[in-house]
Point group: C2
């Protein structure tokens, strides 16, 4: 039923190619979503180690706002993926790779946060939004954010 295009504003022409720009964008989003949790954990672990000398699951749970068993399972995945090392009933350590990732994340987080604040947002809102936005900012956009904050 109905196949006519009203050729309006939006880019929704029946494009037979498998390389749909929109589809690519969504695939990128899904990809980003998969790494989000790992990035948040690794970044948090780095902070805890810096602040407390160690990263204990109980503190991770508190800061992440989840329960202990959730943390345990997630840490297992992070260990499997080579981002952390851990021993039973002991606190958590970052691998070299984990440390590198944490550094990147922190840098990115701060650029986004600084950018939002330099736009005039209050720090609380900026922090909350940065937490969600940071994982979806491409390198190019990040560069633009950084430049903007600098020159404003």
């Amino acid at each position: 039923m109905m196949q006519d295009n009203h050729l309006e504003s939006m880019p929704a022409e029946p494009d037979p190619r498998p390389h749909d720009a929109r589809a690519e964008a969504f695939q990128g989003v899904r990809e980003a979503r998969r790494s989000e949790l790992a990035e948040d954990y690794v970044e948090l672990i780095a902070e805890l180690i810096h602040a407390n000398g160690e990263a204990r699951p109980v503190d991770i749970a508190t800061k992440m706002g989840v329960k202990a068993p959730t943390v345990a399972k997630t840490l297992d995945r992070l260990a499997r993926d080579g981002l952390i090392t851990r021993a039973k009933y002991r606190s958590v350590f970052l691998t070299e790779e984990g440390r590198a990732l944490a550094g990147e994340c922190r840098r990115r987080h701060e650029i986004v946060l600084r950018f939002l604040i330099s736009l005039g947002l209050d720090p609380e809102t900026a922090e909350r939004d940065a937490e969600g936005i940071e994982h979806h900012v491409s390198a190019r956009t990040l560069a633009v954010f950084a430049a903007f904050s600098d020159r404003s």
Copy 2:
């Protein structure tokens, strides 16, 4: 082992309160993540209806970059949640609620996109990043984005 705080930069003090600002931010991110897919679908369905007169699962699958059964399952959830109506082997319709959500999403998407472009980003990068960012932008931040685009 070790419980001394080096009282450095980051807000990682052993705060006993359950109301951790960080935890709240993460909970917000998780909340946003839950509605993301629904929002993307509803927005896409609105576009397809507008462009083609109807929203067929096959087109949704193509645009979303997923397979048909994934679309079917997701549409069932959207129907369950009152955002769409559908009949077997037929195309999809938005409910009043779905239409309202689609409108909001579109508005938000366009504000974010316009904002990124007004920062000087190329349209392709802007589009890709907007797709991910839009779900994590608070009303306050959105207002700031809109104002910025207007006055620049």
